[in-house]
């Protein structure tokens, strides 16, 4: 993937969350955005997905600058996994996936069911397909959320702290699913504050603090940080 961010600024209630970020990245497969709580990493991810619009600045992904005209086409080509699973609570796991496939991608019911079966098998959720989210574990629900994001065969997947709301056992389940994405060669960007998660999956890291990108580089660079703030963060 290629990312170009120029002067990206965002604030909530007058409090600046992203301070005129600039970033140019080319040909990276998996990016991990790290930083402490409230550093702006989730906000940056939401800007990259187009879920939120910047106050000023621009975002270009794979050569396409996000704007109101191409947002719909862009968002059809991405998948997003949120901190909470964000599945629709009244629909079964299967319905959560097929609804998106039918209404967003325009698949027929039978095509959607076939595609849904494929992803549910891939993420070992076939036996949970007819259950609503409240009847499955948090880990299974988050895996179903990943399956939903993957089902549309997106070019790029975004994951916003997908294990933050889970206990260690359920986290392992979800990490296995993310491993599956990596093995399949998917391109994805994730947000985390866990170094193990970052080291395991990312090829490239972006370290943020107080709304600014402090340092970024290939994952090996984490062993020899340039800045004191990253050194402290890595050693935590």
């Amino acid at each position: 993937m290629r990312i170009e961010v120029k002067g990206l600024t965002k604030s909530y209630d007058g409090k600046s969350v992203l301070n005129a970020l600039d970033l140019v990245l080319g040909d990276v497969k998996v990016i991990g955005i790290i930083g402490g709580s409230g550093c702006g990493k989730s906000t940056l991810l939401r800007q990259l997905t187009g879920i939120e619009t910047p106050e000023s600045g621009s975002v270009k992904i794979n050569g396409i600058e996000l704007n109101s005209e191409n947002l719909k086409a862009y968002q059809k080509r991405i998948g997003v996994v949120f901190q909470k699973h964000n599945l629709f609570p009244h629909l079964t796991v299967e319905e959560n996936i097929t609804l998106i496939l039918r209404k967003t991608i325009g698949m027929s019911r039978s095509e959607a069911e076939v595609r849904c079966s494929q992803v549910l098998t891939e993420f070992q959720l076939s036996d949970q397909r007819n259950k609503i989210p409240s009847k499955i574990s948090g880990g299974q629900a988050q895996r179903a959320s990943i399956a939903r994001a993957v089902a549309t065969e997106p070019d790029l997947i975004f994951l916003d702290e997908p294990t933050a709301a889970l206990d260690p056992i359920l986290t392992k389940e979800v990490l296995n699913s993310i491993q599956l994405l990596k093995s399949d060669g998917a391109e994805f960007i994730f947000v985390t504050h866990e170094m193990d998660f970052l080291r395991k999956f990312a090829d490239y890291f972006i370290f943020m603090d107080e709304g600014s990108i402090i340092e970024h580089g290939v994952i090996e660079k984490l062993e020899t940080p340039d800045t004191k703030r990253l050194k402290i963060f890595v050693r935590r």
Binding site: F82, F88, L99, K103
Partner: protein, 247 residues
């Protein structure tokens, strides 16, 4: 032990209420002549049916117009939002009696509509729609922000949002509220007597005027409304409990 004590207290409270009710019915005045009212059983029964169907039609129409109101209240278009909220304040501040007069004798005459029954139902609908819209608003609170984020992300259109996500989740919390609103409509329909629609209140007023038994008339009217509204209220409470347990 606590359970048994609670039950005893409940039973005692109910017994006191029922006794009080019976005492009022039997001692409201000297020489009570319920027979003068109850002898018109057939008329009373027809009136009760009329009240019920007027109320049901009003509820259905209020649900339709209330939904349009609700959509306007949530609209991104400031004009629609302001207009609907302004109308809501005006209607909710208007007594039903005034609303019936306005619709039947002002709107009805200007619009050339002569059916008092239709105008009566229209008045009740206009009165109830904002309350029903509020019930929709409350029920829609079950859909959290995260679900809207997903709907935005996948670009669900307005129809898809309501058809597949919002309405199916609103139905459960809405049912008890709609039963309560039906109860309010039934009680409110008593005011339709001012435009001579032959529902319970009007029919009893006619019978009691004819037989000079107005106190008995009002007491019978009271009992008739309670026969309808108490089961509705109990059903609403039961469904509310059931749905909250299910959630």
């Amino acid at each position: 032990m606590i359970n048994i004590l609670d039950r005893i207290q409940k039973t005692a409270a109910y017994l006191i209420l029922i006794s009080l009710f019976v005492v009022i019915l039997l001692t409201a005045t000297d020489n009570l002549r319920y027979d003068l009212i109850l002898s018109e059983g057939r008329l009373l029964f027809d009136a009760m049916i009329t009240t019920l169907w007027i109320s049901l039609v009003t509820l259905i129409l209020s649900m339709v117009f209330g939904f349009i109101f609700f959509l306007a209240m949530r609209s991104q278009i400031v004009f629609l939002k302001t207009l609907s909220n302004g109308m809501k304040e005006i209607v909710m501040g208007t007594p039903l009696l005034v609303m019936i007069f306005l619709v039947v004798y002002v709107f009805g005459i200007k619009a050339g509509i002569h059916s008092k029954l239709s105008l009566g139902i229209l008045a009740m609908t206009a009165y109830m729609a904002p309350y029903i819209a509020n019930a929709y608003e409350t029920a829609s609170a079950v859909i959290d922000e995260d679900q809207y984020t997903v709907m935005d992300l996948y670009h669900f259109n307005l129809f898809q949002r309501y058809r597949y996500i919002i309405l199916p989740q609103m139905i459960r919390p809405l049912i008890p509220s709609m039963l309560n609103n039906l109860s309010s409509i039934i009680k409110g329909s008593a005011l339709l007597k001012i435009v001579s629609i032959s529902e319970v209140s009007y029919v009893i007023t006619v019978i009691s005027n004819r037989s000079y038994a107005s106190i008995e008339g009002y007491l019978v009217m009271w009992v008739m409304y309670l026969i309808i509204t108490i089961p509705l209220s109990l059903l609403s409470a039961y469904l509310g409990r059931r749905f909250s347990h299910a959630n």
